[in-house]
């Protein structure tokens, strides 16, 4: 058993791989070794995996319905056996609501990342590589978006689009791409005049091919790190919109909206607001730890150059 594991490790770390697959896996394995050496990063990864697990099996894990409560018998009950995190003013089990709320959180975070990161990457890489007028136009548009405070701009967009979780996602995505465009442009500027990009140009590769296949892959690792670190901010913005009543609408168990509804009795029934607050805190912390670990593992200025 241990011998087989050893040879697999040797195969992955081989200095002369025999196939494309082995070279790629070996590279991924080395990143994983760097990543897993960082205990805190592993803790972050564990938190995020737990979040994914809870979201996937929410129906099985939650003891009660997240939407229908028992108004007669169990309003605002303190944490205890039966209701581990207590119940809210509608008699709904808070643990069940938090478990189901993890789905909404994950949905918001993933959709924002999927929409905002590619937009930022494309705008930044094209602006950086093309230069000249196109660069000026694209970057001034980016500056305009950056000039507004994020939450205020998101508020304005939601107000225009109408409240709801989908519109909140759109609003957050529209406000969060500009920093990614800046990062991608900065990375592009450092590599665009390098010899290896000139060498690709001298093979007759078109500008779009150079940007897509040679420049963007170099920007991606720093972008992944930034997006992961931003995810905590995205969760907080979504919760903020939910808190202001512009994000998820009742009776959806969105964490920010849950804090908002618990605000009214925060002094007497603290657990109604504290439980979703703790959930936001833990998940945000998880994403931050993961992002820090990824930065160390993926940093191209690490040992590889």
């Amino acid at each position: 058993m241990s011998e087989a594991a050893l040879t697999r490790r040797e195969w992955l770390l081989s200095e002369r791989p025999d196939s494309r697959l082995q070279a790629r896996l070996g590279r991924a394995y080395q990143s994983w070794l760097r990543f897993s050496a960082n205990r805190l990063a592993l803790a972050g990864l564990l938190i995020i995996l737990l979040l994914v697990f809870v979201a996937a099996f929410a129906d099985l894990l939650s003891p009660y319905s997240p939407i229908v409560g028992d108004l007669r018998g169990s309003r605002l009950m303190p944490p205890g056996p039966g209701h581990w995190l207590g119940t809210d003013d509608q008699g709904r089990d808070i643990l069940s609501r938090i478990i189901h709320g993890s789905r909404i959180t994950l949905y918001v975070v993933l959709l924002v990342a999927i929409i905002a990161a590619p937009i930022g990457l494309a705008v930044g890489a094209v602006a950086g590589y093309a230069g000249g007028l196109l660069d000026v136009v694209l970057m001034r548009i980016t500056d305009i978006f950056l000039a507004f405070p994020k939450l205020i701009l998101a508020l304005a967009f939601v107000a225009a689009l109408g409240p709801g979780i989908e519109n909140a996602v759109l609003a957050i995505a529209i406000t969060s791409w500009p920093p990614y465009a800046r990062i991608a442009r900065a990375e592009t500027l450092t590599v665009r005049s390098s010899d290896y990009i000139a060498a690709v140009a001298l093979m007759g590769a078109s500008p779009s091919r150079i940007v897509l296949r040679h420049i963007m892959p170099l920007c991606i690792s720093s972008l992944i790190v930034r997006v992961t670190l931003d995810m905590a901010g995205i969760i907080l913005t979504a919760a903020g919109l939910g808190f202001l009543g512009l994000g998820a609408q009742p009776p959806l168990p969105e964490w920010g909206a849950m804090i908002a509804s618990g605000r009214r009795f925060i002094l007497d029934q603290w657990w109604v607001a504290a439980a979703p607050g703790a959930a936001i805190l833990i998940v945000s912390l998880g994403f931050n730890l993961l992002g820090d670990g990824l930065r160390d593992a993926l940093d191209p200025r690490g040992s590889e150059r």
Binding site: P17, D18, A23, D195, Y196, G204
Partner: protein
């Protein structure tokens, strides 16, 4: 006979600063032509101008008798390829040797890429064991061999060499120069080689041009240089400088 590479009155200017001033030269098919001069003399700019990376103000460049326009077509890159000075900077840090060699084949739509990559690696003396390595797993000399393989894989007829060995240490320099000499003989390539090292130019090239401040100083045969039959003071100074430091008596 039309020359493989012909340059007539080429002028390149960056913001009114003339990096090249009315340079003319002709290189015959299969010949090796050297460009010598101190830093900033415009020799690398000349290579850049040929590849279309420098702003040409006046003059013409022609390859196999046909004039080049402002932009380069794909067919041009099949004929003319370049090897860069710094092998640590000219290979993409995130691509395996395989990807690096596949890219030119993919751009030009070659079908038999598998066989070509293996043949190119064999030709530069690396073998298939190096195929899936990343540049950071290679030494400087091995990297420069990969860069040469990449330049040769499109089977060009003209190779531009921008100080191909100045970033390598002496023993590796000789290996790479011998490799270049061998592929030139095997394929009948035309070389245009830039160097500040007169010994390398004397060894590799039949004819050479000495440049200073973007202008031609004089044109020589390699045998003239070896026998020190030079007419201009600037060239004489270069010869003295390349002989190394001499202890004062």
């Amino acid at each position: 006979m039309t020359p493989a590479l012909g340059i007539m009155g080429l002028t390149v200017a960056y913001d009114r600063h003339k990096a090249l001033d009315r340079i003319s030269l002709e290189v015959e098919q299969g010949q090796s032509f050297g460009l010598v001069g101190e830093s900033g003399s415009g020799k690398s700019t000349l290579l850049k101008a040929i590849t279309g990376l420098a702003p040409v103000e006046a003059g013409t460049i022609s390859v196999d008798g046909s004039k080049l326009g402002r932009s380069r077509e794909k067919a041009f890159y099949r004929k003319v390829q370049m090897v860069f000075q710094d092998p640590y900077g000219s290979l993409h840090p995130r691509q395996t040797v395989d990807r690096l060699l596949l890219e030119p084949l993919a751009v030009h739509g070659f079908a038999d890429s598998e066989a070509r990559i293996n043949r190119a690696l064999d030709e530069v003396g690396l073998g298939s064991g190096f195929r899936f390595r990343y540049p950071h797993q290679l030494s400087g000399g091995q990297r420069q061999r990969v860069a040469i393989a990449r330049a040769l894989i499109l089977e060009p007829s003209i190779l531009l060499l921008d100080e191909p060995t100045s970033a390598l240490d002496a023993s590796v320099q000789a290996e790479v120069l011998n490799l270049l000499e061998q592929v030139r003989r095997d394929r009948g390539l035309t070389f245009l080689m830039v160097s500040h090292d007169l010994a390398i130019i004397t060894h590799m090239c039949e004819r050479l041009m000495v440049m200073q401040n973007g202008e031609e100083v004089e044109r020589l045969d390699a045998s003239d240089l070896a026998a020190r039959r030079v007419s201009r003071d600037y060239t004489r100074n270069l010869l003295v400088a390349s002989a190394g430091f001499v202890r004062a008596p």
